[in-house]
């Protein structure tokens, strides 16, 4: 695995507010990395620091295993907050500026405009665009020059449902081709549909980081009961892998954390001479789990 981005202990304060607080993350090549959190959780501040818009108070980060410089940023395609272009310039001229900044030719401009469906309006001034068109031009600018990493900050903000579906499909398509993507979003659904990995932020702190699948395994709960609940409980405590056991009515709830299946647990208990009267795998929805994570007091 090739490391694309490594963040260590990043902190940024605005007065008394800690926008991000000791954030550490790693993104590997080929990952579609979601940064998920409610508004004000520090997503844009983090991306701003990674793109040299915002100066961190503490902490370091590296792009492609090197100290971050403007040359590293040329290998990245990024959007930050709302689409930003010169309002009095056409789409083409705006993209020409970016091409010159990145040190690439103009030959890719038509292609990216075609891809986001703006080719027909390529000579119109940016200020005449609708919000959806502005958002799509931002996506086109991200794709300019085939960058090694793409950063999308709330890419579907302000789009109609059809636009949202288009952009998501585009991201999924890019991901399939092995493109490394960092996506900040407050929409769980969006992250779930597009990302392979996720970091959940709340008030500038990381609550969870890992593969999306780990987050779903986190939510698998086994419901158990037997005729002798006390014997069952003590048997479960003897199994090392089991870390938390909860009681709900006459059911015992065991979080498997993906380490064993229902059948394996049944086998283990059977060996200990326990017959289960009830065994059920309960899936909590990812949404419930994330909401729970976000609601926990800091």
């Amino acid at each position: 695995m090739q490391e694309v981005l490594k963040i260590e202990g990043l902190t940024k304060r605005y007065g008394a507010i800690r926008a991000i607080d000791g954030l550490s993350l790693e993104v590997q090549k080929g990952q579609v990395f979601g940064i998920l959190g409610p508004n004000g959780s520090g997503k844009t501040t983090t991306l701003g620091i990674l793109l040299d818009i915002t100066r961190p108070d503490r902490g370091t980060f590296s792009w492609f295993g090197q100290k971050p410089t403007h040359l590293a940023r040329r290998r990245i395609g990024a959007t930050l907050e709302s689409p930003v272009f010169y309002p009095y310039l056409s789409a083409i001229n705006n993209l020409k500026i970016i091409a010159n900044i990145k040190g690439i030719g103009y030959q890719g401009i038509d292609d990216v405009l075609e891809l986001v469906g703006l080719y027909g309006r390529r000579h119109s001034k940016f200020r005449t665009y609708s919000l959806g068109m502005k958002q799509r031009l931002a996506i086109a600018s991200v794709l300019m020059g085939d960058p090694e990493v793409l950063i999308f900050d709330e890419p579907t903000n302000g789009l109609d449902p059809q636009g949202i579906a288009e952009i998501r499909n585009l991201i999924i398509d890019l991901a399939r081709r092995g493109q490394t993507i960092i996506l900040a979003s407050h929409l769980l659904d969006e992250v779930q549909k597009t990302c392979s990995h996720v970091a959940i932020l709340r008030r500038g702190q990381k609550l969870f980081s890992g593969p999306i699948s780990a987050l779903s395994k986190e939510t698998e709960v086994l419901e158990l009961s037997s005729d002798d609940p006390e014997k069952l409980a003590s048997a479960l405590k003897e199994i090392d892998e089991i870390t938390d056991i909860k009681k709900e009515g006459n059911l015992l709830l065991v979080n498997s954390r993906g380490r064993f299946t229902a059948a394996e647990l049944n086998g283990l208990l059977h060996d200990k001479g326990i017959m289960l009267s009830h065994l059920n795998l309960r899936h909590k929805s990812l949404e419930q789990e994330v909401l729970k994570l976000l609601e926990e007091p800091a």
């Binding site: 793109l51 403007h70 040329r74 309002p87 009095y88 001229n93």
Partner: protein, 275 residues
Amino acid sequence: MKELLKIEWLKLKSYRAFWIMVGLYLAILFSIIIGLPSFLDFLAQKTNDNVYINAFKIVAFNFADIWQNIAYVAGWRWSIKIFLALLVLIFISNEFTFLTIRSNIMHGLSRTQFMLGKLSVVFLLTLISTVALFVAGMYLGLMFSATKTIGAIFGRIYFLGAYFLELFTYLTFALLIGLLIRKTGFAIITLLSYNFLELILQYYVNDDYQKFLPVNAINGIITGVNSSMLKVKTPEFDMSMILQEHLSPLSIGVCLAYLALFLGAIYLYLKWRDL
């Protein structure tokens, strides 16, 4: 550097308001300089001092001295160079208003490169103004000058160099204010009101140190007109009081020091601040 200038060119090429202002500035500059002889005629008519004014008119546009005289008029602190400063304020604060400074940095310009691009535009504006002044001076001189030898024509042309330094420093000052204030309207108000503020400030500063105040310093190289033929002192009027003959190395040094200070402040601001 060429790449940075190209990026700035792409930003300005289709910015109509910018070109209208540049055109307007040049038109006003030409009409002021070329209109100077008629203005002196007008003054002579209106006042009782017409002997002096007429005498001045005869010698003011003679080659060699003409460069100092028109550079003084074009570089006067309340004159049209404010127009150019407004242009600079607009094109730097626009980058903050549109947030395009962020996209420039994000897509791969370093903060220093961004500023070098802006400074190269400031440099070009200064150059355009200086060249325009040269053209206007050549026209006036060839029309009115008694001496037209090559030696006379280019004799004191270094006053255009002094004009260039004053203007470049002044526009860099405007660039710094635009960067610090970020909002076009406030930046314009700040720049203009600082001119007045310094007048008040000057009142409290010892005469010897007044020339070290920033706006005085960046207008302090060319302090007045000259005419080598008017060096005669008359009992009632000592012309040498208002006539400047040479460039003072101290005033050039002070101006350069302010230029360095402004550039340093711009560099440090961009190094540390969030955009």
